[in-house]
């Protein structure tokens, strides 16, 4: 039995198990909770790897088809079928990857009914769709050769397909030329975002030429794969021929790229010492210059190790080119970096694994490779003996492999799926959560109050805030309300509110809480998060106060209902004086309590309602009282950052701002 292949298949099935779980998370919880994508990095790993690199990797299909059928290089015929199968599965992987990436994948057919000839993406979509059809027809004869299909309609179809070979090959070449290059043209629309070392009007030529080089090296890599797992013989003479062709194509690619930069006068920016310049050289050396130089040497390209290294370098390098264009060299403002999450990587890896499994299935069941492995490696060829199904050590009956294999792979699948469930990020399980923003307490500051000249009311300013100091200003203590310290604070004249709302008795109008033994509970003890509600109900302390487990029925009165917050007795049934008389705060509707709304909502509701009422009652006196700007006066962030509380708050952050632009 071929143990190496069995291990490979087991690993692949495990990854497919992970894929299954991540798929559910992706489609039920959305892109935001499973990927690292943002509005400023809208295309991430799935587009760069599955689509951009995937299409380029599958270029081997049309390159080999052209060599064999058009240029008459019959010697390379053994590569044709595996290359076309790889291309077909590669494009299926592209489409499947795209289904994960599209926000509304069930609309993937829309380009067919809403054609937009001005969109490059439309051209790419049409070409990929047509080419996938062409590849299916090119590969059709291989499936139709199967003994099961040697009957009436299938034989005729196979004959027609065989007759159509040359038109299909030519159509495949034309479609490939178009979309391999157009994937580059996609980025022509973004001259202000793609870095100058990558943005060029001939980017589509570079994409096409690099795809041919990569396609040739993928065919080589595939031969090594077949040799490692199926024991197929390596045709070193043919492979080194492919290597020589790839060398020329890669030199052409590197030459075009450098010549283009030189002609447009941008070669200098490749030596300016920025990280993009280093990245550019690293990528160009890895994708083209190093493998092309090595492959030009006869000794390297006729050795298996040399060829394998070069093909790995090219694959990583040209895929890296796609990544750089799509993600790394694509400008983003500071502080908005993109890094793929593990579910993103798992989807890409999982789709590739699934395609490798299908590839193995075709190799095992159809005549894809024209040179068959030696008979001795086939498990069926082993002579059967009566002792065979027993393990010699334990004498346990062993099941035949036809039953054992599915069991092993199912187990691998389940193990993969369970691993994925345990590792799934919280967001992917429960949906994207809002980021928590703890509230900071209100502080007392020295302020200035100026009577407005043009309108009724007063203007408030910080004593340290020089630009707003005006003649006739009086100093006064103010409260600075700035829950999340983002510089959009409100200066609150506490004293004038006291006098306006009725001196001592007015406290309860805003300070509504009446906790047992309460002295002065500050707002942020309950309204703990800036934007989202926080739970303020302590079950444990209620249990303790009311008498342990015997007290459940005090709140959960109906024993037949589930004991939840919703079915429990409302808080104010017991805490009748929780909201005091004359308060601006109204008790929550429906009586469900124990949840405090976000700090922002609490403050706004308390202030704005009262302000709006004042405007309605005395429209002449309070003209603009209900406007945001009345309280949020123009206290710009940059000024505040120089002031004491902000200056200290912001100190640990500089390294965050020092990130290179664009990452």
């Amino acid at each position: 039995m071929n143990t190496r292949l069995t291990v490979l298949k087991t690993v692949l099935w495990t990854i497919v198990g992970v894929l299954a779980v991540v798929t559910l998370a992706r489609f039920f919880r959305g892109l935001g909770s499973t990927t690292g994508l943002t509005d400023l990095a809208p295309w991430g790993f799935w587009i760069a790897f599955d689509v951009m690199a995937g299409v380029a990797l599958a270029a081997g299909g049309f390159v080999v088809a052209a060599m064999v059928h058009i240029f008459g290089r019959q010697a390379y015929r053994p590569f044709a079928r595996p290359a076309i199968l790889t291309a077909f599965l590669g494009y299926v992987a592209v489409v499947v990857g795209l289904l994960y990436d599209l926000g509304l994948p069930w609309h993937i057919w829309h380009p067919m009914i809403f054609p937009q000839v001005g969109s490059v993406l439309f051209e790419v979509a049409m070409c990929v769709m047509l080419y996938l059809t062409v590849l299916a027809l090119e590969f059709g004869p291989v499936v139709l050769e199967h003994p099961l299909l040697q009957q009436s309609p299938f034989v005729e179809i196979a004959a027609i397909l065989k007759w159509l070979t040359i038109p299909l090959v030519i159509a495949g070449i034309v479609l490939s030329t178009l979309h391999q290059s157009s994937l580059g043209s996609l980025f022509l629309i973004a001259p202000y975002r793609l870095h100058a070392l990558w943005y060029t009007p001939i980017i589509w030529v570079l994409f096409f030429v690099s795809a041919i080089g990569l396609g040739l090296m993928t065919v080589v890599a595939e031969s090594f794969f077949s040799a490692a797992f199926f024991g197929h013989r390596l045709r070193m003479d043919l492979l080194s021929g492919l290597g020589r062709a790839a060398s020329g194509v890669l030199f052409l690619y590197a030459g075009l790229r450098l010549a283009d930069l030189t002609l447009r006068g941008l070669l200098g920016s490749a030596f300016d010492g920025s990280w993009q310049a280093y990245l550019f050289w690293f990528e160009l050396l890895m994708s083209a210059l190093v493998p092309a130089t090595l492959l030009a040497v006869e000794r390297v390209r006729s050795s298996a190790a040399g060829l394998a290294c070069c093909s790995l370098l090219t694959i990583l390098g040209v895929a890296g080119y796609r990544f750089d264009v799509c993600i790394v060299a694509f400008a983003r403002p500071e502080g908005m970096s993109y890094f793929p999450t593990w579910p993103e990587l798992a989807v890409s890896l999982g789709v590739v694994s699934a395609m490798v499994l299908v590839f193995i299935f075709f190799i095992e069941n159809f005549r894809v490779c024209e040179h068959e492995p030696e008979e001795s490696e086939q498990p069926a060829a082993r002579p059967l003996s009566p002792l065979d199904p027993y393990d010699p050590g334990t004498m346990i009956c062993l099941l035949p492999d036809s039953i054992r294999a599915p069991r092993r792979y199912s187990l691998a699948f389940v193990v993969g799926a369970s691993l994925a469930i345990t590792m799934l990020p919280d967001d992917a399980l429960w949906g994207a959560q809002a980021k928590g923003q703890q509230v900071s307490p209100v502080r007392a500051v020295d302020g200035l109050i100026t009577k407005r000249a043009d309108a009724p009311g007063h203007e408030l300013a910080l004593a340290t805030h020089r630009p707003l100091v005006k003649p006739g200003a009086e100093t006064a203590p103010l409260l600075m309300i700035d829950g999340n310290r983002d510089g959009r604070l409100v200066l609150f004249p506490h004293k004038s509110h006291i006098s306006r709302l009725g001196e001592q008795r007015s406290c309860a109008r805003c300070h509504h809480q009446n906790m047992p033994f309460d002295r002065n509970t500050v707002c942020w003890q309950c309204h703990r998060d800036m934007y989202s509600t926080s739970d303020i109900f302590s079950h444990a302390s209620h249990l303790e106060k009311l008498g342990g487990n015997a007290s459940c029925l005090r709140c959960h009165k109906n024993s037949r209902e589930a004991r939840t917050r919703k079915t429990a007795t409302a808080c104010r049934e017991c805490h009748k004086d929780m909201v005091v008389e004359g308060s601006f705060v109204k008790p929550p509707e429906g009586g469900v309590a124990g949840l405090a709304c976000g700090y922002l909502d609490a403050m706004h509701k308390l202030c704005i309602e009262c302000h709006e009422r004042s405007v309605q009652e005395k429209p002449n006196e309070y003209t603009a009282l209900a406007r945001c700007a009345t309280c949020h006066r123009g206290l710009g962030g940059p000024v505040l950052r120089q002031m004491p509380p902000y200056a200290t708050d912001l100190q640990p952050k500089p390294e965050h701002d020092a990130r290179p632009p664009g990452r």
Partner: protein
């Protein structure tokens, strides 16, 4: 070209009161801003905030929203025509066509279209210049709400003349250019400003070429590539096939001429081919 509607914002008049933001939220039913992983600040443009105030040093406030380009990159990029430039001026979005490829987010030079990342059924969200109000003869909600008359609505050519007039009358108050007059071929949204507005785009300098022209230059090469490639491949196939046929016939003749000679010559030829 017929004139379109536009919005002119005078940065020197804006007090940053955010009444426009409030009006936009009410008009379009956008709901609360929530702090998310994909936002830097709570008041960044997002799927729940189509316009926002960018605070600049020395109490300058710049309203950021869709520029409604005359040649919009987003609409030219859109694969299904979900984003569309209307004859009235606004660039609008049709959610029933969208397939969620997010090429518009990649294409926009101002980073305007935003995505509903939190939703399993996400749509692109952006300012539509209240197209539904314009067609009924009303002004956009943000313009209506502005208490300082810092952002005004009108025909683009009228606003442009008005902005130039303002700048000419008070050259010390404004920079000597109308932002949006020429960038990427001109935008319906114009700014008269005393400070440079380069922070509203990804690169400080933006040229006058409309972005759709750049991709169109590549797209016009599609028909010649189709014809040329098909012709080339068919030609090569025919010539090489013919040469191989001739070589085979020549070899057969040579063999029949010297019967008994080994067919090694033919094999060699195949290998070198």
């Amino acid at each position: 070209m017929t004139d379109t509607w536009g919005i002119l914002t005078d940065i020197t008049l804006c007090t940053g009161c955010e009444e426009c933001v409030k009006a936009c939220k009410v008009e379009n039913g956008l709901g609360c801003d929530v702090p998310r992983r994909w936002k830097r600040r709570i008041d960044d443009l997002s799927s729940t905030r189509h316009t926002t105030i960018v605070r600049q040093p020395r109490d300058r406030f710049v309203r950021q929203f869709c520029r409604h380009c005359l040649h919009p990159a987003c609409a030219s990029a859109c694969i299904v025509g979900a984003l569309r430039k209307t004859p009235e001026g606004p660039v609008v979005y049709d959610r029933d066509r969208c397939m969620g490829c997010r090429y518009c987010l990649m294409a926009c030079p101002f980073g305007i279209p935003k995505y509903e990342w939190e939703s399993p059924v996400p749509y692109v969200r952006k300012c539509t210049m209240c197209h539904h109000r314009i067609v009924k003869g009303r002004v956009p909600a943000c313009v209506e709400a502005c208490p300082e008359k810092a952002t005004i609505f009108g025909t683009r050519s009228g606003l442009l003349a008005q902005a130039k007039n303002l700048i000419q009358r008070e050259p010390r108050r404004y920079l000597p250019r109308v932002f949006g007059e020429k960038e990427v071929g001109g935008t319906c949204v114009l700014y008269a400003s005393g400070i440079p507005l380069d922070f509203l785009q990804f690169r400080p300098e933006v040229k006058e070429t409309p972005l759709p022209e750049l991709t169109w230059a590549a797209l016009t090469k599609v028909p010649p590539i189709v014809v040329g490639m098909t012709g080339l491949m068919a030609g090569v196939w025919w010539i090489i096939g013919r040469r191989m046929q001739l070589a085979r016939e020549a070899a057969r003749e040579a063999r029949s001429a010297s019967a008994g000679a080994s067919p090694a010559g033919e094999k060699d030829e195949e290998k070198t081919a």
